[in-house]
């Protein structure tokens, strides 16, 4: 982290960049937040550790409009989003100085809580070069757990440690994939329609339409969301019933289908713990199976699976046929 800070200060000092987009320590040891750093002294609370899950690429849409270059710290998975946004002309490559930061998986405080570790006052081992064990000082005494057990779901299905785009790299990355990306989707697919309906009914009824998923999603970056405009008569309605939420989440997933890099931010930020990434991943799985494997943001090919076709694509009836 020190190397990153030193380099950031250097680039700021020599005028290469006008500001640095990174993470600053939050009010608790596990909730750092995205922040700009413009002056030497700002770096006092700069942090980059296992809790810095936030994908900063979306912030570059606004940063692209600012004077001068912005140094942005991107983890390997974040660079997919950045590259996808580049394809869509939403971020300006010229306005970004990308430091590809090392990553060994990011942590999920909810998982830590689920392990019975509550009342956390401080954490050791979450540092970027830290150990494989996390040690917590809690209100109830010292507790430990393995780093891997506390990782976000998305890190267990990590896309890889390579950065898709960068100006320079700082820090080592590690492969953290130890699970099948589509296992969860397959588990649901194996259920009966009634069970699936009940499952999603239960999950989606938790939605409070806070729009956190939408706000954090790098693909969901419309200047004005269709659910906020009068173009479809679909402007937000109060949360009084279940279907409205299905409509919102289905359409949201549909709008990002073929563009979603599967960064998993939607699920990470959902205050209700709805596994929203399942919608996106279902689309990704279908796209991979029906139209060939596709990873948004992995290349510069501008056409995605929903803006291209082949003459012998599967018919929609395949959905009913495969049961």
């Amino acid at each position: 982290m020190q190397e990153l800070i030193n380099r950031a200060k250097e680039l700021l000092a020599d005028g290469t960049v006008a500001r640095v987009l990174g993470w600053k320590a939050g009010d608790l040891p596990f909730n750092p937040e995205p922040a700009y750093f413009e002056k030497e002294e700002d770096f006092a609370d700069f942090v980059y550790d296992g809790f810095c899950g936030a994908n900063l690429s979306k912030y570059m849409i606004e940063a692209s409009k600012l004077e001068g270059k912005t140094l942005v710290c991107l983890k390997p998975c974040d660079t997919y989003s950045f590259r996808q946004l580049m394809k869509e002309h939403r971020v300006n490559r010229e306005k970004a100085y990308i430091i590809g930061v090392g990553c060994r998986g990011k942590l999920d405080v909810n998982k830590i809580r689920d392990l019975g570790i509550k009342g956390i006052e401080s954490v050791q081992g979450a540092e970027i070069e830290g150990s494989d064990t996390l040690t917590f000082q809690t209100l109830y005494g010292e507790k430990t757990c393995s780093y891997a057990d506390a990782m976000l779901e998305r890190c267990h299905v990590c896309k890889g440690k390579e950065h898709m785009i960068y100006d320079e790299l700082i820090g080592e990355s590690r492969e953290t994939k130890d699970a099948d990306r589509f296992a969860e989707v397959e588990k649901i697919e194996a259920m009966s329609p009634e069970e699936r309906f009940a499952y999603f009914q239960k999950e989606l009824s938790k939605c409070i339409r806070c729009n956190a998923c939408r706000n954090v999603c790098p693909a969901c970056s419309c200047r004005k969301c269709v659910f906020d405009s009068n173009k479809f008569d679909s402007a937000q309605k109060a949360n009084v019933n279940s279907f409205e939420e299905k409509m919102f989440h289905i359409i949201r997933a549909f709008h990002v289908a073929g563009r979603c890099t599967d960064c998993g931010e939607c699920s990470r930020v959902c205050p209700q713990g709805i596994p929203l990434h399942l919608f996106n991943r279902k689309f990704i799985k279908d796209i991979d199976e029906l139209y060939g494997e596709y990873q948004a943001g992995a290349d510069d090919e501008e056409r995605g699976p929903l803006t291209s076709y082949t003459v012998d694509d599967a018919e929609p009836g395949i959905v009913a046929e495969r049961g």
């Binding site: 409009k65 394809k87 869509e88 002309h89 939403r90 970056s221 419309c222 200047r223 004005k224 969301c225 269709v226 405009s229 009068n230 173009k231 479809f232 008569d233 709008h255 990002v256 501008e302 056409r303 995605g304 929903l306 803006t307 291209s308």
Partner: protein, 662 residues
């Protein structure tokens, strides 16, 4: 809310026998916004139309719903009627209560209920209609033809004859194309040059045709009726106005060892050259890459011997910018490269040749002056094997999936000509199928077999192995006798697949004309609009659209010309007002809509916007009304709903949905 009038047609008894039209009128009057409703026996009649017009005037109607037959039948009738009464024609909607209701339902109650719902949906839609106006755009009365082969020449001649100026842009130094390389043509066996050369002369002499040879299209902008094209006239290094075409420069040029493109590399040419004797224009070009003067600065022989003083080593490329109303693509084809078919030993033996090379060998003006001989040792062959479908109808990615269409016929021609001229030569043809649809084609093929004794074997060749004695061992299969065949041949001729000229992709991109996976240009409709590109104002001539022989190419060239003439004959174009529109405050500028637009109608511009006080420059999608055909593909691709379709807007369709589901 509009003031809406609803008009229910009886259509004699066609509707009224099954739908209670009075009930529909009664229900219509209860709909919000409806201020007038009436029924009449024949709404489409003079009297019926007057009823609509009177109501528009008297009740000051802002919208009209006609419950009648299909809009495909009388939508235009009712729109025109409304327009005559001063209402915008696009304020009229039709509820189809005949084809979609009275004709298919027997029960009056059921049919009436459905008719009421269809009426409601139309009322709900018309409430959201906005007046639309068909735009106008001007037409530049000049055509551009890209490619100067037989397709381009024919199209240009036909357009020129109709009285419109037309420019041909040809990449090589001469017009003539592939046809000028051919010896004889099937099925009549007349000499290719003899029938082509007069057309080339006509094209060059026609007062309405301008030839830009040794030139390429560099940039295209604009749209149907109003294209602006930059043409790069490459430096010829010879002043066309001074050159007399005497040919002395070519005789004296010391750089003589350059493979001749025209003879497919089977002979050499000089650095200053015309591709062939009948070239038009008959003005040589200097191939600067191979010219000693350009390479070393020394030489200048051509300049010294040119009595006209036409050689100009300082000539530069010139960019010509011209406006056109229509563009015809006639970029033709080439043979595929055979590097993936090394089992036929094309790269290993000089005696394995392609059919186009054979054309040159058979041609009196070709590298062997028309004598059939082996290129390795100049000996007369006794045994010739033809292999069909080399790279055509190919299941894997080595070749092309399509049939090249011309090979069966030209191979029959070659076989016949050889047997005619050299009766002692045995000719064997290995084929998958012999395809001879076309006038007098099958007769021609049968003559080859029956009169000329050409040995046709159904089966493919697995391998051609050059032997130490200079012969070629052909290993093939005879599928009919179900046996393996080993044959020693002196020459092997490969019917290599044809493919679109490799430059076509670049050209199609400039024209925003769509292209298929094989690089053939796509038609606007495979059956009904086969010579038009989906991009308005772009027409297709010849093999650039798909494999064709000469008569088909010439017919299509004529058809493309007629379509272009039809466009040029108009002074103004009326544009379809039901086009997509981009809301500048909602557009993300993400380019997704442009990817799905089949017409290249969407572009992006950096525009200053004022979004509720936020002033900034944004990348905004812009729809060109002249190009948009109103399919709506963009509207669904657009996540923010910035793209909407006039006449079929999101809210209009949703209003219909709501009315139906009420």
């Amino acid at each position: 809310m509009q003031r809406i009038g609803v008009f229910v047609c009886h259509c004699g008894t066609n509707i009224a026998a099954t739908v209670d039209v009075k009930k529909v009128v009664e229900m219509a009057l209860a709909e919000p916004g409806v201020v007038h409703a009436e029924d009449y026996q024949y709404m489409c009649s003079e009297v019926g139309q007057e009823k609509i017009q009177n109501a528009i005037r008297e009740k000051n109607l802002g919208g009209v719903v006609v419950c009648s037959c299909s809009p495909r039948m009388h939508e235009t009738t009712f729109r025109n009627a409304a327009q005559k009464a001063g209402l915008n024609p696009y304020m009229v909607e039709i509820a189809n209560i005949r084809e979609h209701c009275s004709w298919i339902h027997k029960d009056v109650k059921e049919a009436t209920e459905k008719a009421v719902i269809l009426m409601r949906a139309a009322v709900a839609k018309v409430n959201l209609n906005t007046p639309l106006k068909a735009g106008e755009s001007r037409v530049t009365k000049r055509a551009l033809v890209i490619g100067g082969g037989i397709a381009g020449i024919q199209t240009a001649l036909d357009i020129a004859e109709a009285g419109y100026p037309v420019d041909i842009v040809e990449k090589t130094p001469s017009i003539g194309g592939r046809m000028s390389q051919l010896d004889k043509t099937f099925p009549t066996l007349d000499c290719s040059s003899c029938i082509l050369t007069p057309k080339m002369v006509d094209a060059s002499a026609h007062p309405n045709i301008t030839l830009y040879t040794y030139s390429e299209v560099e940039k295209v902008s604009g749209f149907v009726g109003d294209f602006t094209v930059d043409i790069r006239k490459k430096a010829r290094s010879v002043d066309m106005s001074k050159c007399t075409g005497c040919g002395v420069c070519q005789e004296k040029c010391p750089s003589k060892k350059i493979p001749s493109e025209f003879n497919r590399g089977l002979s050499n040419r000089t650095a200053i050259y015309t591709p062939f004797a009948q070239a038009i224009p008959n003005v040589p070009v200097i191939d600067r890459e191979n010219c000693i003067k350009f390479k070393t600065g020394k030489c200048g022989v051509c300049s010294k011997v040119c009595q006209a003083g036409a050689i100009d080593y300082n000539q530069k490329d010139e960019i010509i910018t011209e406006k056109y109303g229509a563009i015809v693509v006639a970029t033709g084809f080439d043979m595929i490269k055979l590097d993936k078919y090394d089992e036929y030993a094309y790269s290993q033996s000089k005696d394995v040749i392609t059919s186009l090379e054979l054309e040159r060998i058979m041609n009196a003006a070709g590298p062997t002056s028309g004598h059939l001989e082996r290129l390795s040792d100049g000996k007369a062959p006794k045994e010739i094997v033809f292999i069909q479908c080399v790279g055509s109808r190919c299941a894997d990615d080595r070749g092309k999936s399509y049939c090249s269409k011309i090979c069966c016929m030209y191979t029959a021609k070659h076989a016949m000509l050889i047997r005619d001229k050299y009766p002692d030569v045995n000719v064997t043809v290995f084929y998958i199928d012999v395809r001879t649809p076309g006038k007098n084609f099958d007769e021609f093929y049968r003559r080859a077999v029956e009169e000329y004794g050409v040995n046709y074997i159904k089966g493919q060749v697995g391998k051609v192995i050059p032997q130490p004695n200079g012969k070629l061992l052909v290993q093939g299969a005879d599928l009919i006798d179900n046996k393996q065949i080993l044959k020693e041949a002196d020459m092997v001729v490969l019917a290599a697949a044809i493919e679109p000229n490799p430059d076509v992709r670049k050209i199609a991109t400039m024209l925003t004309a769509s292209i298929d996976t094989n690089n053939f240009l796509t038609e606007a409709h495979a059956k009904l609009r086969p010579v038009e590109s989906p991009t308005a104002g772009i027409f297709l001539s010849g093999v650039c659209q798909g494999p064709k022989d000469i008569p088909e190419t010439v017919s299509q060239a004529g058809a493309a010309a007629v379509k272009a003439i039809g466009l040029l004959a108009k002074d103004k174009l009326l544009t379809n007002p039901c086009t997509a529109h981009s809301d500048e405050l909602l557009s993300n500028g993400c380019s997704q809509c442009a990817h799905v637009c089949p017409y290249g109608a969407i572009t992006y511009e950096e525009r200053q916007v004022n979004d509720h006080g936020i002033r900034e420059v944004r990348r905004i999608a812009v729809v060109n009304d002249a190009l948009c055909q109103g399919c709506g593909a963009c509207t669904v691709t657009c996540p923010s709903g910035a793209m909407d379709l006039q006449g079929f807007s999101n809210r209009q369709i949703q209003a219909e949905v709501d009315a139906i589901c009420l």
